[in-house]
Amino acid sequence: MVKFSIFLQRELRLLARQKADWLNPVLFFIIVLTLFPLGVGPEPNMLRIMAPGIVWIAALLSVLLAAERLFKDDYRNGVIEQLVAAQQALMPFVLAKITANWLSTGLPLLLLSPLVALLLNMQGASLEAMALTLLLGTPVLSLLSVLGAGITVSADKGGILLALVILPLYIPLLIFASAAIEAASIGLGFTGQIAILLAMFLFSLALVPMAVCSALKINVS
């Protein structure tokens, strides 16, 4: 626990130093959101129907882009190699990475959701549903993208390989999250979908950190 908090502090310090790290994903999110209506056409009705999908795809892409460099620096500097050699501190390190990743990308998206609703013409219940799905879904997104980053850290080509590994895992999330928002937008209940999202969150929380640790070990040996 002490280790975790020191490591988390380190990550947060890195984020504070490189403000671009958390500002840019947010801006990217907004930019992608503005691209869609442009490419697809500005009819408000149309937009309202597409909104859930768009929000979630934009969220995915911004988290994905942020994840790419997650372990790169520490890998290149030999930090990870030496952590693996020293064994015990790897798990808290990974947990700190995951937490920091969520704090810097998931949380801002969550806070942005009212603005998004405004841009995409969303109302009452949909807005609520979107915020809820983001609350439960972005941690899963962070977990998955850290997993992808861990798996691909020593791969010759990070970015896109990462996307490939993560996207398939991410599809169930996308389906349930946008289904929830859609249900809300036509006035139906959406507790079912939310429950599934919760389950996905707990499930990945239990499994992913261990998987990341072993991925890192494999990557340095």
Binding site: K3, I6, F7, R13, E81, A85, A86, Q88, A89
Partner: protein, 219 residues
């Protein structure tokens, strides 16, 4: 702390025992039937030309890579099983420095303090000792090559690990830094520590338990 007192007679336990190691890279046998052991108070220098396989051997000895053949034992226990004990008593510093370029020297030290149980009384005095006074608060990427190396080696002044495995620790260091690092090695050995290192620069240490192992470059 688990450091043996300077009573390393013949009865001193063998810390690390490697038997019949071999390492094959892409059909090329780097070394075969290589055995070595390390006792408290010993410094073992791995010698060899560029590409002989020194770094590969060190990675095997530190548990990062598996040998293609042969066994490792730590305090008479076979290694994959005893890995966590071994890792807790080991300080490995490889070709890469293990410091994050965006963090300051202090912050890097704090990270390693948490990660590998260092005992640092005061970071500032430690860094000043290493000639980094006044540079504690600058991100490491702005330090020169040698200064970065010094930050990375600072761990050796604070670790309680008994076995040090160092891959070319003198790289980028200036002469005065090399001399003080070697003095620190001797102090560690005299406290019962043990060191395995590689370097292409001649050691200038006066010490009774220096051993060298040469890996011949094979093709």
């Amino acid at each position: 702390m688990n450091i043996a007192q300077p009573t390393f007679a013949v009865t001193a336990p063998i810390l690390l025992d490697a038997a019949n190691l071999s390492c094959v890279k892409q059909d090329r046998v780097l070394f075969e039937q290589l055995s070595l052991h390390l006792k408290p108070g010993e410094l073992l220098q791995i010698k060899g030309k560029n590409g002989a396989g020194k770094s590969s051997l060190l990675r095997i000895l530190s548990g990062l890579a598996q040998p293609d053949e042969g066994q490792l034992q730590y305090l008479a226990q076979p290694l994959p099983a005893a890995l966590s004990d071994y890792a807790a008593n080991l300080c490995f510093i490889g070709h890469q420095s293990g410091i994050h370029e965006q963090l300051t020297a202090i912050e890097n030290l704090q990270f390693w303090q948490a990660a590998s149980d260092l005992h640092i009384q005061d970071e500032f005095t430690l860094l000043a000792e290493l000639g980094l006074a006044g540079l504690e608060d600058i991100p490491c990427r702005m330090l020169s090559a040698g200064q970065q190396r010094r930050v990375s080696l600072a761990r050796l002044w604070a670790t309680s690990a008994q076995i040090w495995i160092l891959d070319e620790p003198f790289t980028a260091l200036d002469q005065s830094a090399i001399v003080s690092l070697q003095q620190h090695f001797i102090a560690h050995l005299q406290r019962g520590g043990a060191i395995i290192l590689t370097t292409h620069q001649p050691l200038s240490i006066e010490y009774h338990a220096l051993r060298a192992l040469e890996i011949h470059y094979r093709w």
